[in-house]
């Protein structure tokens, strides 16, 4: 039992260490001059960001809507119509928006990224790059990390907006709170900091997801089975990483 706990601790330490080392390598690749392959960057911005837009917006809309429907019971019971906009905005901007979108992003983009890099690893394409004297960190990893951080940020901006829209709409239709009351409550009680708080988080979530998914991708061993295992581990580790980062950042940015 103790031995098994020990194994798990060692395993987790090794993965976290590996992700840390990858982060240092990425930073080093940005020296002395932060440049990267423009084509790789555009390709990843497009397939990671633009292609994720529909699913992210749909998730955001419904989460905003559900939030309002759930709290509608209390709003009616306590006559707290004037609080609905504030409550929806506060929880969406600070917490629900960034974290839900990050989890969706990890499921769609992070897993895809691990699978792609993993396949490149087992088919020796990464070694092929190295043999051509092209640094895989600089050519493959840096554009992916950049693209994921930029796109998760952008998607969170759009997602927040659509979630609030969903909340306002359902607030009117289901709970019976007029949209003007909703907007007034939102704008008079929330500051830019509430929005910024969540967006700062989203950038860090992007970093966590990108480094984790790249790390598991390039350390695949053992053929197609290994790729499957890596995708699995990557999604789980990203989710845990997002939660831990969220905790830390929420404490830090209080």
């Amino acid at each position: 039992m103790i031995a098994r706990v020990g194994d798990v601790v060692i395993g987790v330490t090794r993965e976290v260490g590996g992700i840390g080392v990858l982060m240092l390598q990425v930073l080093r690749a940005l020296l002395p001059w932060p440049s990267m392959d423009a084509r790789e960057l555009w390709r990843n911005l497009y397939r990671m960001g633009v292609k994720s837009l529909p699913i992210i917006l749909a998730t955001a809309f419904f989460s905003g809507a559900i939030l309002v429907v759930q709290s509608g019971i209390f709003v009616r019971r306590f006559g707290a119509e004037g609080l609905l906009g504030w409550a929806t905005g506060y929880s969406t901007f600070r917490e629900i928006g960034p974290i839900l979108i990050a989890l969706m992003f990890s499921g769609r983009v992070g897993s895809n990224n691990t699978a792609e890099l993993g396949t490149m690893t087992i088919t020796e394409q990464i070694d092929g790059l190295r043999a051509l004297a092209i640094d895989p960190i600089r050519y493959l990893i840096v554009p992916r990390v950049t693209a994921m951080m930029v796109m998760l940020f952008a998607l969170t901006v759009f997602g927040d907006f659509v979630a609030i829209l969903g909340g306002a709409l359902l607030g009117q239709v289901v709970v019976g709170v007029d949209t003007s009351v909703f907007w007034h409550s939102l704008f008079s009680n929330l500051g830019t900091w509430d929005l910024v708080h969540g967006l700062v988080k989203s950038v860090f979530f992007g970093l966590v997801i990108s480094l984790t998914s790249c790390y598991f991708g390039i350390s695949v061993r053992g053929g197609a089975v290994g790729v499957g295992r890596a995708v699995n581990a990557s999604v789980v580790a990203s989710a845990i990483g997002i939660m831990v980062t969220d905790c830390l950042l929420t404490l830090l940015m209080k």
């Binding site: 088919t123 394409q125 070694d127 092929g128 190295r130 004297a133 092209i134």
Partner: protein, 250 residues
């Protein structure tokens, strides 16, 4: 300008693949490495570009050790020492043309259009210019191999390591590749060729190393190899299934 392996040892877990490999490859020669499947030919040449590190022993290129370096220190070496992988390793996300253009863009600071022009010429050399806009996944393995050869040669390396360049090619394409290797020799390029192709071996090799049980069992010219009265070598070059040779796994 030589490549030297000195008493190289390499194990994967309990499997002791290279067991004291020693051989010297001279400048300008076409040097073949032959041996049974799984004997460690690919492993041997991957050591030269730092994709694998030896457990013990030395590897010298032009007199300088090339083992145990940091990853960054290999990059200058790899520009002079090109490698064609056994499985081609073209990048799935780039077209055939962009695969060949990539090293030009990265190392010669060429613009995209100029790199593509140059890449087209490189593809023409291996008769693959008609497939420039295809994706690697749409090609046969022999076609991919020819593209991989073109890609490796873009940087005009002084040494080229070919891992089974003619495997999967039809006899006509295979002889064209042989001719290309011979032509490179006139440009003072040293080629190290891993091969099972007896025709190539006996038409273009200057010297041949026969690897057996992790060592260079015999090194010599094609004539010397033919004339060797070593039963294991004779069994290999005549392709008999019965004989003294031990083939682990069979």
């Amino acid at each position: 300008m030589t490549i030297e392996f000195r008493d190289l040892h390499k194990s994967f877990g309990a499997q002791h693949v290279l067991r004291g490999l020693t051989m010297t490859i001279e400048r300008g020669e076409v040097f073949f490495i032959i041996g049974t499947s799984g004997v460690g030919k690919s492993v041997t040449i991957k050591h030269l570009v730092g994709l694998l590190q030896p457990d013990s022993g030395e590897i010298l290129v032009d007199g300088k050790p090339v083992h145990g370096l940091a990853e960054r220190e290999y990059y200058p070496l790899r520009k002079r020492l090109g490698m064609v992988f056994q499985h081609s390793t073209l990048f799935d996300s780039l077209t055939v043309l962009d695969n060949v253009a990539l090293p030009l863009r990265k190392h010669q600071r060429m613009r995209m259009s100029a790199a593509r022009e140059a890449a087209k010429e490189r593809l023409a050399v291996v008769q693959m210019e008609r497939y420039a806009d295809r994706w690697p996944a749409e090609l046969s393995s022999g076609m991919r191999k020819r593209v991989a050869i073109a890609r490796t040669l873009t940087l005009e390396p002084q040494y080229v390591l070919f891992d089974e360049p003619t495997t999967g090619l039809d006899p006509v394409s295979a002889r064209r590749v042989d001719e290309m290797i011979k032509r490179l020799q006139t440009l003072d390029v040293t080629s190290v060729v891993v091969s099972h192709d007896l025709t190539s071996i006996f038409t273009i090799a200057d010297r041949i190393a026969f690897i057996y049980q992790g060592q260079a069992h015999i090194i010599g010219t094609p004539e010397q190899l033919r004339a060797a009265d070593d039963p294991i070598v004779q069994q290999f070059i005549s392709g008999r299934s019965d004989g003294p040779m031990e083939t682990p796994g069979f």
